[in-house]
């Protein structure tokens, strides 16, 4: 059992935002209930249909992606996707992104009154989608966390997801914690460009060593539980992060390459745990 921000997780392996589809697609490859948690793609107040093609470019360092965060909007999500996820008896972490603090508050309000949501994760640095709020400075992280925190009932923790920017990540984490975040997620797609010049995110192998550096710094500086995200594909990757002090890890784009990755890591860690007992 993994403990994170007052939640008991079945495994330290969590699906990262935006990489598990609606959950249904992933369920073909392993029961969602055995995951630590399922994080939804970032949900916005209004539906978004996403950006033009190509949305993905394959590079050895990871995917360069510009999807534009397509999602059915909070109402659509609550009506169709959340109920199905809850039926799977998995912990559901709802990721949210917004165009303004006001929208963020509104999202939190609706999620706060939706039963079954285990936690809310704030996407504070979407690498693309320039209409969305990006917390550039640490104080902006705190402001966003505080706004959301107020709207959520006790027992629904706020996870602040931070860009793996070594110069600011400790201050950003501190600001999040002071504003009430029960945990931080360290790791996010990196701000990149498509070969055609459009803003994009870079996810996958490239993020690993960078986010690991940020994890190390946050763990050394603060007492907050940290979820490590970025570049996780193997059991060894998970172990390195847990050893560095992470409470849990998120698996993102590795799922796009092998949809069994999360299930495989859950099993590998469980058997490893078994061995140690």
């Amino acid at each position: 059992m993994t403990e994170l921000a007052g939640l008991r997780l079945a495994s330290p392996v969590v699906v990262a935002a935006g990489c598990g589809g609606t959950g249904r697609e992933l369920a073909a490859y392993g029961a969602l209930a055995e995951l630590g948690a399922f994080t939804t793609r970032s949900i916005t107040l209004e539906p978004r249909s996403g950006g033009p093609l190509p949305r993905f470019v394959e590079t050895p360092a990871g995917f360069v992606h510009a999807t534009g965060l397509p999602n059915p909007g909070i109402d659509g999500f609550l009506a169709t996707e959340l109920p199905w996820l809850l039926q799977q008896r998995t912990r559901v972490v709802v990721s949210v992104a917004a165009r303004s603090l006001g929208d963020l508050v509104e999202l939190a309000r609706r999620l706060g009154s939706a039963p079954g949501v285990s936690a809310v994760e704030l996407n504070l640095a979407p690498p693309e989608g320039d209409d969305l709020l990006v917390s550039r400075e640490p104080f902006q992280v705190g402001a966003a966390v505080a706004a959301v925190h107020r709207e959520l009932p006790r027992g629904v923790p706020v996870l602040a997801k931070l860009r793996p920017d070594v110069l600011r990540v400790v201050e950003a984490a501190r600001s999040a914690v002071e504003a009430g975040a029960e945990a931080v997620v360290v790791g996010q797609s990196l701000p990149a460009a498509m070969p055609d010049g459009r803003d994009a995110g870079l996810s996958g192998p490239a993020v690993g060593p960078l986010a690991l550096r940020c994890l190390t710094e946050v763990v050394a500086a603060l007492q907050v539980p940290v979820v490590a995200c970025g570049g996780v594909a193997t059991a060894e990757d998970v172990r390195v992060r847990l050893a560095a002090g992470a409470a849990a890890v998120q698996v993102g784009s590795a799922l796009l390459h092998d949809p069994t990755t999360a299930a495989r890591l859950v099993a590998a860690l469980a058997s490893h745990e078994g061995e140690r007992r």
Binding site: C19, G20, G21, R24, E25, L26, A28, Y29, R41, S49, G50, P52, L53, P54, R55, F56, E58, P60, G62, F63, H65, T67, P70, G204, A233, T234, S253, L255, L256, H257, D258, P259, T260
Partner: protein, 277 residues
């Protein structure tokens, strides 16, 4: 949508026919669940060697035939045209080599409930799923007319076998090396009229599918078009493969080529908004 599996398959045979490499795979679970129009996604790189992967996107291949062979109940045959690094890697696999595959993926061709006349249209290797489809249609006593198109002779799939499966076969090549010289679009109206088709099934390039869907509409036939869009995860997780469609309710929506397709009703696709490939 059948539930796909992700397995490490083994190459049982690899044979060059014309411009294509025909691979027969032992991929337990994939063949058993197959329905015509579904595909599999291959990972490029040796199984197990995650650190050795640079092609992180999956490569989609139509499932051509499923049959018992060499003691295996349901081997899977695919047809590969080596055009880029991934398909070249696949085409170079030899008997005994292993490859990770996920399948069957996507929604298959919908079969008519009545024994109505049908026309099946395939272009290049994309004719692959039509032969198994033709068999299922014959089981339902639907008359089958086949249209096969290709750039040239070497890219014409199983034209001989076609004559056994179908009542009538029309062959079109761009260079005129076999059959009529020209494009499928040039002959489709005439074929539909002669076959008096109620349903048209088509697989191939976007412009061809568009032409077929338009012709079907003009003839008052249903069309089922199997799209090839650039895919990243191929499993519905990444939202990288949007296809503009019109829902049953007449509202414009976005479908995922991999998970809501690859087969979509021709009259539902907003062809003009679809970037051709």
């Amino acid at each position: 949508m059948s539930v796909p599996v992700h397995v490490t398959g083994e190459v049982l045979a690899s044979k060059r026919i014309g411009a294509y490499q025909h691979l027969t795979l032992v991929a337990p679970g994939v063949g058993e669940r197959f329905r015509p129009g579904t595909f599999l996604a291959a990972s490029i790189g040796a199984p197990g060697d995650i650190g050795g992967r640079t092609r992180l996107g999956r490569r989609a291949l139509w499932i051509h035939q499923v049959r018992p062979l060499g003691g295996y109940a349901a081997t899977v045959q695919v047809v590969v045209e080596p055009v880029g690094p991934g398909t070249r890697w696949l085409a170079a696999l030899e008997r005994g080599d292993r490859v990770e595959v996920t399948g069957p993926l996507g929604r298959p061709f919908a079969l008519p409930k009545e024994p109505v006349p049908t026309v099946l249209v395939g272009e290049g290797y994309a004719a692959a799923p039509l032969f198994a489809l033709a068999e299922r249609l014959r089981e339902r006593e639907c008359p089958v007319t086949l249209v096969l198109g290709a750039a040239d002779d070497a890219r014409l799939l199983n034209a001989l076998e076609a004559r056994r499966t179908a009542r009538a076969v029309t062959v079109v090549t761009r260079d005129g090396s076999v059959g009529t010289r020209g494009e499928i679009a040039d002959v489709i109206d005439e074929v539909l009229r002669r076959a008096d088709a109620d349903v048209v099934y088509a697989a191939g390039s976007t412009p061809m599918l568009h032409a077929v869907a338009r012709a079907a509409e003009a003839h008052g036939a249903w069309s089922q078009t199997a799209l090839e869009q650039p895919l990243t995860c191929a499993t519905g997780l990444c939202l990288g493969c949007p296809v503009p469609v019109v829902g049953e309710d007449g509202v414009a929506r976005t479908a995922r080529a991999c998970a809501d397709g690859p087969v979509l009703r021709g009259d539902r696709v907003r062809w003009a908004d679809l970037v051709g490939t």
